[in-house]
Amino acid sequence: MTRSDLVALIGLAGFALFPALAWAGGVLWAVDLASRMLIYGLAALALNLVLGYGGLVSFGHAAFVGAGAYVVAILSFHSMMGGSILGYGGTESGFVAFALAILVSGLLALAIGTLSLKTSGLYFIMITLAFAQMIYYLFISLPDYGGEDGLSLWARSDFGPLDIGDDVVFFYLCLVLVLLFALLKRRLVASRFGWTLMGLRDNERRMCALGTPSFRYRLAAFTLSGAVAGLAGALLANQTEFVSPAFLSWHLSGELLVIVILGGMGTLYGPLAGAVAFLLLEFALKEVTEHWQLALGPILILVVLYARRGLWGLVEGRKDG
């Protein structure tokens, strides 16, 4: 166990106690904010797999988050209102809806990745953005599913005995999922797959000369990242009990990038710290002024200019190379 793991463990333990503290402090509403932090953290962890370890700047991860969210909302919509999508009558079951959200986002990432990974650098940034915009306009022009106005959920997904309609239960569901993915990512990054991915990031030409099929490795990482972003989307739909094209907009893609950078790109737990810091900052600025974006903008610029390794860089200390 490294120092970084230890700090992350302490942080997570603190997070696990949060509902109790919020209850004691009489601010139980803050649990909802904490759930949102975890959800953004999960999406940022997923993005970090391609961004930090793969060196691929995806400016379109909102597409996967949004797709996951819409899967949950559309299935719930049909189960309540009748009708069907592709012959399927919808469901309230969280087990089915979440699995389908992961599957749909994963397949979407597979398709987008297959086309986008043929380009690199700036062109990759732009083509992922373009694909996300495509999905965005697709959902805007579907009046059956609310078009620009979005779609409300009647209730949160049904997980049998686990009632996630309760904010505290929902919070722990988010926490467990984040923990599971963080552990999976930790193993993945230390595996042959992870080293190959980082090798491709650092020196693609040499890796190719060694016979690495770069496209396949990157596509696998991109697909996994998209699938997990879809899971985050499914959680987000449940947290807000509402989905709208805003979940697919390029603002969300930008925010996710900011969160990863703020937390520390290519670090294991940095994106989680980034999500907590970003949402706290947003929350605090909103309390102070309605023109909070006027302050958030320059803060982002300062972070980019002067804090290269993000918050987690402080935790990990000096790193050689």
């Binding site: 495509m134 900011v258 980019v304």
Partner: protein, 306 residues
């Protein structure tokens, strides 16, 4: 009837295309020469439109608005270059994307504070608000024709500037080898600031042109910016010629799809479904176009160098 309709939509596409070109030209120069991804370029377009609308409202003159918008936006652009962007040239694209994303947040909120949250109206003067009869029985708005004319003139001017003048030569040289130009005694920082100011003026011009047609509102720059990036990527980064061809392609595709796809789908779908599918595909068409171009030619239609 349908032939005239096609003609009208072609003109609309041309008009939208040259407007995209005005914005794309500055952005592609900045991107190609300084290797800087500037998401805040759309904000300059917004600032231009707002200054023009505000001055027009105060003075009642569209021309005064135009005359105020261009230098004002140039000043804003130069200030941004000196304060923020200058520090980003040596950084990777990711940093540039994030910092300029921050600039967008700043500008949107700033414009809201200065000009208010409500959209401004930008009225056309008498002499531009009528329509011109192109062919007997085919009227077309004079202002849209003016946009096409201005866009084409600016295009010619830029070709001349980049291909025929000393400044253009320095710009091209700076794009292919920054250090060498510097070693030959050219103040490259000054050159960059100048090019950036030029890009800002063009973006403001685009904003002024767009104002009377679309709403002058906070956030108007972003949809435009994303389309302009599509234009640049299709055309090849850094190439004025590519930006021109890309802008016309995107403009035409967008307008023609929006006008005719719903009708096309109406042939085999019910009207409501046709409108939905057609509308969706029209918005998606330009992204499909871009994806197709990039898959066929990963560096765009006219790669500028390298």
């Amino acid at each position: 009837m349908s032939l005239l309709l096609v003609l009208e939509q072609l003109l609309n596409g041309l008009q939208f295309g040259v407007m995209l070109f005005l914005i794309a030209a500055g952005l592609t120069l900045v991107l190609g020469i300084m290797n800087l991804v500037n998401l805040a370029h759309g904000s300059l377009y917004m600032v231009g439109a707002f200054v023009c609308a505000w001055v027009s409202l105060q003075t009642g003159s569209f021309l005064l608005g135009l005359l105020a918008a261009l230098p004002a936006t140039a000043l804003v652009g130069i200030a941004v270059e000196l304060l923020v962007l200058r520090r980003l040239y040596a950084r990777d694209h990711l940093d540039q994307v994030l910092a300029t994303f921050g600039l967008i947040l700043f500008f949107n909120e700033g414009v809201k504070i200065v000009f208010g949250a409500r959209p401004l109206r930008l009225d056309l003067p008498e002499w531009l608000s009528g329509s011109v009869e192109l062919l007997p029985g085919v009227p077309y708005p004079a202002f849209r024709l003016a946009i096409i004319a201005v866009g084409l003139l600016v295009g010619l001017f830029l070709f001349w500037l980049v291909a025929r003048t000393r400044l253009g030569m320095l710009i091209r040289a700076g794009a292919s080898n920054r250090e060498m130009v510097q070693a030959l005694g050219v103040d490259i920082a000054q050159l960059y600031t100048l090019v950036f100011g030029l890009g800002a003026v063009l973006a403001a011009l685009g904003g002024v042109m767009a104002g009377p047609i679309y709403a002058v509102e906070v956030g108007m720059g972003e949809p435009m910016l994303i389309m302009v990036f599509v234009v640049i990527v299709i055309g090849g980064i850094g190439s004025i010629r590519g930006a021109f061809v890309g802008a016309l392609l995107v403009g035409m595709t967008f307008m023609l799809c929006r006008a005719f796809l719903p009708g096309l789908f109406g042939l085999f779908l019910d009207p409501a479904g046709a409108a939905a599918v057609g509308g969706a595909l029209a918005s998606m068409a330009i992204y499909i176009l871009m994806a197709a171009v990039l898959i066929a030619r990963p560096r765009g239609l006219f790669p500028a160098h390298g």
